[in-house]
């Protein structure tokens, strides 16, 4: 038995990825559950509009962080602002003596629940209107996020496994000397997964709309654009993972290391705004956070493309970075000889 224990430790010592998985993941979970996993909301962003805006803003409970006061704006302008997702709630005031209305963004489930609870306990004389998800159903908020998780699964895991399988079976070496350009191999390997992920997305959206009655209020074009950009990131990460993995086990380990932080820190489960500042910055580096912003924005709020340019741009930037790195690594695997070996020529 002792011989097996010693052998196991020796193997483990050389499997750096497994050590990372065993050390980093518990550390990550500790950080996440310590600083990020908070359902309680201590602050929500708010805007106050209308003639009595300044007075109403001063009377709001401590939960509300008033970020903007627009005395000249009306309810329509408030709805337009709410649709951008920038504010969790907007107080609409009318002429003196009239009852203010509190517009709440139901797409942000925890914030909305905190707001309605705070208003009830403070007995504020306001009319509460929950927009986009009036019954505050969980599925309406989760389904747009689940689409993102699915795209990470298909994009990153399936792609990395597909490319690593080629390396493991020795056929990548053969592809490298076959009459293909590296970009042919790259696109040829990735395109099928891209198509499968696209079909998967369509199926999940259809099921979400049909079975879970999740609304789709925004532009399909914006949603498709966001999905394509997100797929671009996840597929590139998949190829990147495959380029540093020797076998499918390693590829799965690395994929899990990228997947877990995304699920926990992207705002899919825990609200990003409730996370400690240090952890929140990690969230801003995760592509799933931006996809969740886009899918919830488009599907639930009907946010226009102009309101989503930040997550769209971030996905493009992350995609370009991951794609560039993966291409460099992929080319190194596939075209090691072309730079220095002279052009084919007949020997004398």
């Amino acid at each position: 038995m002792w011989a097996i224990v010693v052998k196991e430790f020796r193997e483990l010592r050389r499997d750096r990825r497994m050590v990372a998985l065993m050390v980093l993941i518990p550390l990550l979970l500790l950080v996440v559950f310590g600083y990020a996993a908070r359902f309680d909301v201590s602050s929500v962003s708010a805007e106050v509009v209308g003639p009595q805006a300044s007075r109403a803003a001063a009377q709001l409970p401590g939960l509300f962080t008033v970020e903007r006061i627009r005395p000249g704006a009306d309810r329509a302008a408030a709805l337009s602002d709410l649709r951008t997702g920038k504010y969790a709630t907007i107080v609409v005031t009318g002429p003196a003596g009239s009852q203010p209305e509190l517009l709440v963004d139901g797409a942000d489930l925890f914030d909305a629940q905190a707001v309605t609870k705070a208003v009830a306990s403070a007995r504020l004389p306001v009319k509460v209107t929950v927009m986009y998800n009036p019954k505050l159903t969980t599925s309406a908020v989760m389904v747009p996020g689940i689409i993102g998780i699915l795209l990470v699964f298909v994009g990153t895991l399936a792609t990395s496994l597909g490319v690593v399988r080629e390396r493991q079976s020795g056929t990548l070496e053969q592809l490298a000397v076959m009459p293909f350009r590296p970009r042919d191999v790259f696109v040829g390997k990735v395109a099928p997964y891209f198509l499968v992920a696209a079909v998967d997305t369509a199926i999940v959206v259809t099921v979400g709309l049909g079975v879970f009655k999740v609304p789709f209020r925004g532009s399909p074009f914006t949603f498709v654009l966001g999905s394509l950009l997100f797929l671009f990131v996840t597929l590139s990460i998949g190829v990147l993972i495959s380029s540093v993995s020797e076998n499918q086990g390693q590829a799965i380990q690395l994929t899990m290391m990228t997947l877990l932080p995304q699920i926990l820190l992207s705002g899919f489960v825990f609200p990003v705004a409730s996370m400690a500042v240090g952890v929140r910055w990690i969230a801003y580096l995760l592509p799933l956070k931006y996809f969740v912003d886009i899918s919830r924005g488009v599907m639930l709020r009907g946010a226009p493309i102009g309101a989503l340019w930040t997550p769209l741009l971030m996905l493009a930037v992350l995609g370009a970075a991951a794609f560039g790195l993966s291409l460099v690594r992929f080319r190194r695997d596939l075209a090691p000889s072309r730079a220095a070996v002279p052009e084919p020529e007949a020997a004398p």
């Binding site: 020795g170 056929t171 053969q174 000889s337 070996v341 020997a347």
Partner: protein, 270 residues
């Protein structure tokens, strides 16, 4: 005309995998590359086909469309059927000759199992499928990395027949092998040891150029210049050796195996 490499050196970090290796592969011939584990055989073949960049030296090879490469005990897709594997190679190389495809599959004994997954084939059949895929497009240069390792004698013979047939059709074949009897039947042989060329030329010439003599004895000689063979030991007596041969020593006509071992012993001694 011939393809090959000249004075090629490849380093993996501090380790020299190939040290000034030159190999010439004339068209219509089979060149066997032999050597022990870690001799540099696979690296040499990779350099030849363009899968590895040499640190120094030159490579002469045809256009990639005119190269057929079989990378060791792989090169086929286990989750594709025999026919699908061949389809892939045919599309990649634009080899549209259906008759050649049928002839090769029949010669490899694979014509009757087009729908069987490559992963479900025996080792020998898988190797033959890989060989068919590598030579489907009638390449000018066919490079095979140990195509017969782990293959039963009947399949080995069939593989050899396929390889010889390619050479007879004008292809330059370079093949690494662990079997010296196979190398002995090649047009020429290159003996590698720890990245260096120990011997090269026609197998017969390599044997004839063996320095000194080889004798056979039943008793184990107290020297490092002996190796087990058959019912006794072969003993190499270098030119000018002063130590007397054992009393029962009988001269033998050396073969390629003896020549390769003597070359390695000679290098170690020097």
């Amino acid at each position: 005309m011939s393809w090959g490499v000249r004075a090629v050196t490849v380093r993996f970090g501090a380790r020299v995998a190939l040290d000034g290796v030159t190999l010439s592969a004339p068209t219509g011939t089979v060149t066997a590359v032999v050597g022990g584990d870690g001799a540099g055989k696979s690296t040499l073949l990779r350099v030849l086909v363009g899968g590895r960049r040499p640190d120094t030296g030159t490579v002469h090879r045809p256009d990639r469309r005119q190269i057929g490469y079989f990378p060791g005990a792989a090169g086929v897709y286990p989750d594709l059927s025999v026919a699908e594997n061949v389809d892939f190679a045919a599309q990649a190389y634009r080899a549209r000759d259906r008759q050649r495809r049928a002839r090769l599959l029949a010669a490899a004994g694979l014509a009757g199992v087009p729908d069987r997954l490559a992963g479900q084939l025996s080792g020998g059949m898988r190797q033959k499928l890989g060989l068919v895929m590598a030579m489907l497009h009638e390449p000018q240069l066919l490079v095979l990395d140990e195509p017969s390792t782990g293959v039963d004698p009947v399949s080995r013979a069939e593989l050899t027949w396929l390889v010889n047939r390619a050479a007879a059709a004008g292809t330059a074949v370079v093949m690494s092998t662990a079997y010296l009897d196979e190398a002995e039947r090649a047009s020429q042989v290159l003996v590698l040891d720890r990245g260096r060329v120990l011997r090269s030329g026609e197998p017969e010439a390599v044997v004839n150029d063996l320095p000194g003599r080889v004798v056979h004895t039943r008793q184990r000689p107290e020297t490092e210049l002996a190796w087990r063979r058959g019912d006794g030991w072969q003993l190499w007596l270098p030119p000018g050796a002063t130590a007397p041969a054992p009393a029962d020593a009988t001269p033998v006509r050396p073969d390629l195996e003896d020549a390769v071992i003597v070359a390695a012993l000679e290098r170690s001694a020097s």
